[in-house]
Amino acid sequence: MGLPNAFEDLSSELEVDAFRRLFPLRYFERHLAESIRTDGRPLGKARETSIFLGAVASANGSALVKIGSTTMLTAIKMEVMTPSLESPDEGCLAIDFFMPPICSPIVRPGRPAEASPVVSKQLSDTISSSKMIDLKELSLVSGKAAWMAYLDIYCLDADGALFDAALLSAVAALSHLQIPAVAMNDDGKIVLVSDEDGRKQAQEPVNKEKRKLTLRSIPFSLTCILHKNYILADPTAEEESIVETHVTIVLDTSGQLISLYKPGGPVLAYTSAIQDCVALTRQRVKELKSFLDKENPDMEV
């Protein structure tokens, strides 16, 4: 086997790892000079993405999304509530993003991650401003009963581009959502109609036809980091910790810009840089749309 050989290999391996830890910026820039990233990707390429619908069997809709190592699990639970007085015809969508301590060494119990409420707010803003869901579809009986959909997104592994993965998993879960059948019983209250009873259905389901939500323009996003003159798409956590400037662009399937988010950072971006990011995002939207369509062939858009 050649022990001296193994020792040499091991020691050179250690040198590379040590260099990576001690001088992360130089390690990173050495790669950029060759137009490549530390994991071998070309600059504008996103990581391998996979979507798995129906990951949580007990939820009304769920999806597990992996972008590279970043893993997000979303589940939707529906409950009946009385709608508010200002909008008696609308239901409600509550979005919550959690980063439990398992996802990253930086998250400690008792001290939630900085990114968690930021991504949470971004997500609710994006989903409501994209008008993907018509809240009127969540209404059951005007003024009396409507659906409250709780969307819970859990990050199981935080390796960069959290917002992208979270948005994709929220969208995938919404596309998978099956609204349960309910009926009005004699007291005028809404009751779940269970299919496995085997008893004769004494009550007519109130919403037999509307079991799935119609999604209008679906938002997809891409986060890019800017370093000197380079634009890198879909950063890993290591890259995000080295480069502090990032731009998140959300486009919908019809090509319209839904949101643009650049929260400061040392690199000032000229319009040309932003336009390049938008071009990268456009490409990514096409990719993501095809992934989602593959998983959900009968989705109405």
Binding site: P100, P101, K189
Partner: protein, 266 residues
């Protein structure tokens, strides 16, 4: 199957505009042919499945499934102690147990920091601490985080099994694996590995955690009433379950080590 003609009482409860009709019938948890509600035999465990290395960022991680109960555990450590005042010549072991909002049938409001989660965190920490060789890692901290993704009874046991795998994946020295299983006693039959329905039946629920090679019990919890002579039987059943899980865990670890060897080119 499972419903015996008996007294019917209809209970109505309301909340959120929904009315649930709970119909109480005398439930039969073990049919005369000897089958349980999900078709298992009394001494049969649910299907177990485990996977190592689920969380790439963690030093060690594992997913453990017992039937419909799915749990993910991640271990970070040994790393520097956060709180200077807690440095000692033994490793500090911390554990946090939390359940996802969607893990149970109805959505949970408070998934962390409630009494049950705090209690289970403590139980898991003390169980694992009994096995970790903490004196080999002074001035350091080992964090075990467990997240329940789907709960169908036996979450405590699934968490301990997942934590064992995650600790092994992280390379933390231990005296022995720690495996755990639950057992109960319904309709005069000892049952192995209760699911949620059997657990909520009101009968006794014994959770056992052992170090299989050393044959030592590190965790023993029981709810409800049980005559002492029957306790012996139920405990023995749980020990068998734990040993079966230990065999499975060993297989998984062996397979994982082989994979690592292939990748290293050994």
């Amino acid at each position: 199957m499972g419903i015996v003609e008996g007294k019917e009482s209809i209970e109505r409860c309301g909340g959120n505009g929904m009315v649930f009709e709970k119909i109480h019938l005398r439930m039969e948890y073990v049919s005369p042919e000897g089958l349980r509600l999900d078709g298992r035999r009394p001494m049969e465990m649910r299907q177990i499945r485990a996977e190592i290395g689920a969380v790439s960022k963690a030093d060690g991680s594992a997913i453990f499934e017992m039937g419909n109960t799915k749990v993910i555990a991640a271990v970070y450590g040994p790393r520097e102690v956060q709180n200077r005042s807690q440095i000692s010549n033994h490793a500090l072991v911390r554990c946090e147990y939390s359940m996802a909002n969607f893990s149970t049938g109805d959505r949970m409001r408070k998934s962390k920091g409630d009494r049950r989660s705090t209690e289970i965190s403590l139980v898991i920490r003390q169980t694992m601490e009994a096995s970790i060789l903490t004196h080999l890692l002074p001035r350091s901290q080992i964090d075990i985080y467990v997240q329940v993704l789907q709960a169908d009874g036996g979450t405590r046991s699934a968490c301990i099994n997942a934590a064992t795998l995650a600790l092994a994946d992280a390379g933390i020295p231990m005296r022995d694996l720690v495996t755990s299983c639950s057992a109960g006693y319904l309709n005069s039959t000892p049952l192995l590995d209760l699911n949620y329905v059997e657990d909520s039946a009101g009968g006794p629920d014994v959770t056992l955690g052992i170090l299989p090679k050393l044959d030592k019990v590190t965790l023993l919890q029981m709810d409800s009433k049980l005559p002492i002579d029957i306790l012996e039987n139920v405990m023995q059943l749980a020990i068998e379950g734990c040993k079966a899980i230990a065999n499975y865990i060993r297989e998984i670890l062996l397979e994982n080590t082989k994979q690592l060897e292939y990748r290293r080119g050994v």
